[in-house]
Symmetry: C2
Subunit: 434 residues, 2 copies
């Protein structure tokens, strides 16, 4: 987005945990601020230096430490690139429970630090469920070995969760242990059209019930998103005959039986067509067609960048109210902007994006704080999977109570008394620096 | 087990969160210790008063607050009995992601406070993944509203995880929001015999790969466990023709297609039989037979109580080493005791039990600290799903590093400076009361 410009003069690339520890010990003793950096693919400015923080870049810690083929437990260093881990596991007959558009550059340490969500959460759940252990270096340089490889462990407080999603503000994750499911051979993907949002919702409910154990993704986009992709990305075609559909859904199933799974999805589509839940649809016939379907969904962000300026919001909302916000925003902004909605419908996660020819403070003022107030009113989250970073640190109260944020700040102060770890991020300034 | 005798003079049964808050506020201001109590089914003395703590019993807070049929999100009060929630959801076409032997009396608040594991963890994962939100009353009476109903929320630290598994020592959970999966119609169960432990392990690996998306439980017991059940429980029969098998496995599948799922399990059994992984096996023909199979696995604990004194250990270990401990223990104890091993093989969770005619300190001295040292040496957990409670508070270092426990103690001190919440539990005395 080029929204944030760092101004650090020093970038360090530690190769081992001990080096991270020595750097933090030194910085802590002199109250020098640091910013940990993974693949730098975040969207909320969580990994940019704000003033002159020392950058600790994890790219050199990129080894797989161990992989247990019986349990499917992978232990690796924080700087491993997600796509490399996906390939490594694929060779072993396993899959990462996490997959997202930025996989080519994002790092697993950054994924865990930001509690990344992505495309497969509907099937495998969040990183709080899949990460079995971490090794983390605290602000004072102490190395906390919580690198367990056990599925169950109820001995004391499960401290690793504090670090999952804390965006590097409580410690720097150096190693990760993660439970990976066996790779199932049969993957099927359907690209479907729905006439209205209510049909999308009903389709989700039916998919959960009838595809139950094989459902592995349920994504949606509106026709404005599709138009943007068709207009701005090369080589992308609409898989459905041109006709006015308002919504599109991608349903992916992953199972262990090719012919049965395909049959099951086909039966589901037929039923949904007859019941009027979908108005058209096509099943990917091969892996190339499947990746061309995914290209549409994953290409929305890229198309937005090419279209001009973009105001991005990543919201969790109760599924039944989710699209109302897009419609209200359209009325509010009128012809000045394109308002598009897409995202992980299966998880109640809306990516609301507003596209304009160039940035305009007047438009921003019409969007914010309205979008946050609306989300808060419906008990949603103003950051479903992107985190708060620099961008939304001061907006945390829209989603969390004063008491909760106060406790977060107390824990931050306890664990990082000199405030050296990723300052100006996650927590509001009023609490961090009082 | 009747191992712990409380000596409290006061039991309070609050009906609303505000009452819990007022009680804690009062107790905190006068430094009166409290012990929160759910269904009192724990096995490590986590809910017993040690001296004269005030008991806060949650049994009166037993209402379902809301249930969303689109998302499957249940919000309820902490005192709801697990079995009642299971029935409630069943009527709505959903299931609890949690099931365990004590379901008839344990409460959801206690389940969450102890991070209960149980029979379905292999399918649905731990409560850290399924609990979406909690409402908790802190030591000073502050009510922390973290009762989110969102699948994704990355706004600040996810504090609820601190309370999941903290055994009431950081706050009292008053409400829970939990994600429940749709009920799938087809449940199949097989009772199988394996000649050695290595076959059990290979069977698990094959089951994960070939039954992948439908596998919902993988339990095991050794022939000593089965003998105990057959000898001490009435009306229980061995489903397999009498013959010397060393190990038994229960494999349950849950899917959405009756005939296909059964076929799939049958094909799997045939293949496993041909490959020599199982030496015999039977598929439950109806729900009665299925519950008689479950009765064997779930009856082990009851049979042990009837057999005499029992020394119970709940361990997580790498699956390949798990049963070595049982064998080593047999050699160590000789004829003085029956050593039995059973548990949740799919999760690497061994219930090691030693049965003797009566309690004997000499035998205990042969078991402990050996069992903890062995577990620690193999980087296991000395408490996989039961927690630490009173029984193992001082043994935490076998599974957690000094630095981690120190941080736990700092967090406890920050959140409960007067130490009123469930004292003598979870954390070692040396740290709690220094």
């Amino acid at each position: 987005m080029r929204k944030y410009n760092g101004s650090s003069k020093l970038l360090l690339q530690p190769r081992r945990t001990e080096e991270v520890s020595r750097v933090l010990k030194y910085c802590n003793s002199r109250s020098l601020a640091v910013v940990p950096q993974g693949g730098n693919t975040g969207l909320v400015g969580g990994s940019v230096p704000v003033f002159d923080e020392v950058i600790i870049n994890m790219a050199s810690m990129k080894n797989v430490v161990s992989f247990d083929k019986v349990s499917g437990i992978l232990v690796c260093e924080a700087g491993c690139i997600l796509e490399n881990l996906i390939s490594f596991l694929d060779n072993q007959g396993f899959v990462m429970p996490l997959d997202l558009g930025a996989k080519g550059s994002c790092q697993i340490g950054g994924n865990v630090s930001t509690n990344a969500g992505g495309l497969r959460l509907v099937r495998y759940g969040s990183l709080h469920g899949n990460v079995l252990g971490i090794e983390v270096v605290l602000a004072n340089g102490d190395v906390l070995d919580m690198l367990g490889t056990l599925r169950k462990d109820n001995t004391g407080y499960d401290l690793k969760h504090l670090f999952i999603g804390s965006e590097g503000s409580l410690g720097i994750i150096t190693k990760v242990s993660i439970l990976t499911p066996p790779k199932l051979s049969s993957v099927n993907l359907a690209f479907l059209a729905c006439k209205d949002y209510s049909s999308c919702q009903k389709l989700l409910l039916e998919a959960k019930r009838r595809l139950g154990e094989v459902l592995s993704a349920f994504e949606f986009l509106d026709n404005q998103s599709l138009d943007l992709v068709l207009n701005h990305l090369e080589g992308v075609r609409n898989p459905l005959p041109p006709s006015m559909h308002n919504f599109y859904a991608l349903i992916e199933t992953t199972g262990s039986d090719e012919s049965y799974d395909k049959e099951k999805l086909e039966a589901f589509l037929l039923r949904s067509m007859e019941g009027g839940l979908i108005s058209d649809g096509v099943l990917a016939q091969d892996i190339n067609q499947a990746s061309s379907f995914w290209r549409i969904r994953e290409g929305v962000a890229e198309a937005l960048m090419k279209a001009g300026a973009v105001y991005k919001y990543d919201l969790s909302l109760p599924v039944e109210k989710m699209y109302n916000l897009v419609e209200e925003m359209r009325i509010r902004l009128g012809d000045s902007s394109k308002v598009i909605g897409y995202g992980h419908l299966g998880d109640g996660n809306l990516h609301l994006n507003i596209s304009t020819p160039q940035y305009d403070d007047m438009i921003l003022a019409q969007i914010e704080p309205f979008v946050y107030e609306w989300t808060s009113k419906h008990r949603g989250s103003i950051s479903a999977e992107h985190g708060l970073g620099l961008m939304k640190a001061n907006k945390i109260f829209y989603s969390k109570s004063r008491e909760s944020v106060q406790l977060m700040a107390s824990i931050k102060k306890l664990m990082d008394p000199n405030g050296i770890l990723n300052p100006y991020k996650v927590l509001p300034h009023s609490l961090s620096y009082s």
